[in-house]
Symmetry: C2
Subunit: 267 residues, 2 copies
């Protein structure tokens, strides 16, 4: 999916919601656990219930990998089930030397039909470049993440005066462009979001950390938007585990709808 | 495998060689391509030919992931085939927030029987900590990698005067200890290896970049050893693709033997 198509979806649905498919067999409601493929059956319900309210789905690959081969099967079925007009992000946080990076790109862009992959920047240009070579595919580089550990290294000050995450966001832009590159910017740093928007005005941000991790959606909409919204705001646990019994679908829809309606006021 | 057992293997075999199983279907000799599981059959030959000369195997997970479910099956079979007294490293370069990190740890330590996983440090303590909670298992954190891109961020100078990779190596030591934590230090920075050894005297280093990437083995042995050697020196392409026809096993053994014999002079 290209930039214009993604923006069209955002305008049509009045939503920049990304639903995180962090599907954990220990946490899904009991009515799914007897299914032949509980993870896929659960995801199917999530997709059926939320697909008119969101523009992206983001499976975190760890949850599938930890189930072994059965998990990869659930993931492939899930990706095939997501409608074509919804953006598909592999939250994989990969990153390796060039010949290996190519392999990871092949996994997510060719083996599975993802639109985007998250990548960690620590290994530098040759770890990011292989993901930039595919038409209408995207790399989403970790800029400033939403977790507590983002203070350990990302927010160290360099001798140039910049923070490390600022340097990452500025440098990585030289390797790609707003049509093939996005950044992860956590919602738990609303004060910094405005400045980061100035550093990367035309780029999409993938914004995790709203909800369970404490980020405030309204503040994010106000501080992070550019002329074309330029954000995919992710919520995982707050949506997919909103209910845990017979009310599962109803509560999940209400949770997603609440976010979409708040977003609509800004789109 | 614990630290003492690993050191015992190094002394017994007079080797600190780690063979990288970066097995690429495009590169393996033609006699394997007709097998039902070419990747596993090739790996089996590598293991049979080199297991008395090395103390560790390191499959780079990207190569298996890119083959889809069949690739994960080849990986599981490979891990099961490696003898118990050889250290098994999942070169996965993972790293995610705490609840996700736990999933990745589960994948490699429980789902598959790896001894160690490589992890990228960019997301900080909560991305590394979940891997430290398993008995006799190891996390290997990227310190200074062997690739060109290591200059982009790892070698940036902080306002404290340290390079970023120095800060990473010092800070991460506070989260673990020499019995559950190692660092990746590329062989392509032999001048820096001596200094890095002083920063982390008792820690094992996983050293990629000898051979195909240009690092010099003798220099690494001289600059990187501590009292218990403290290094696993990896070679992938130079060993596993040393021959490409009927001479495959012979050339592979010669390549591994050459490295082991050079190492033996220092052990």
């Amino acid at each position: 999916m290209n930039r214009q198509e993604l923006y069209n979806q955002i305008r049509t649905k009045k939503s920049c919601l990304c639903v995180g498919l962090d599907t954990d067999i220990q946490k899904i409601p009991s009515q799914f656990t007897q299914a032949q493929d509980p993870i896929f059956e659960f995801n199917k319900t999530v997709i059926d219930t939320t697909k008119d309210l969101c523009v992206a789905y983001k499976p975190n690959i760890a949850f599938y990998e930890s189930m072994g081969i059965a998990g990869w099967q659930s993931l492939e079925k899930t990706i095939d089930y997501i409608p074509d007009n919804i953006f598909k992000i592999a939250d994989a946080k990969r990153g390796d030397i060039q010949n290996t990076g190519k392999m990871y790109a092949k996994t997510f862009f060719e083996q599975m039909n993802f639109d985007a992959v998250t990548v960690a920047p620590y290994m530098g240009e040759d770890s990011v470049a292989p993901f930039l070579e595919f038409d209408d595919k995207w790399v989403i580089v970790l800029g400033l993440t939403s977790n507590v550990g983002s203070h350990d290294f990302q927010q160290l000050r360099l001798d140039s005066g910049e923070m490390l995450y600022e340097r990452v966001i500025k440098t990585v832009q030289k390797w790609g462009n707003p049509n093939n590159l996005m950044f992860v910017v956590g919602a738990t740093h609303p004060d910094l979001l405005k400045d980061i928007r100035k550093m990367a005005e035309d780029y999409f941000f993938l914004i995790p950390g709203v909800g369970a991790q404490g980020g405030d959606l309204k503040e994010v909409m106000e501080n992070g938007s550019n002329g074309e919204i330029g954000m995919l705001i992710n919520s995982s646990r707050n949506i997919i585990y909103a209910g845990d019994g017979a009310d599962h679908e109803e509560k999940m829809r209400l949770s997603a709808l609440g976010m979409q309606q708040l977003m609509a006021a800004y789109i």
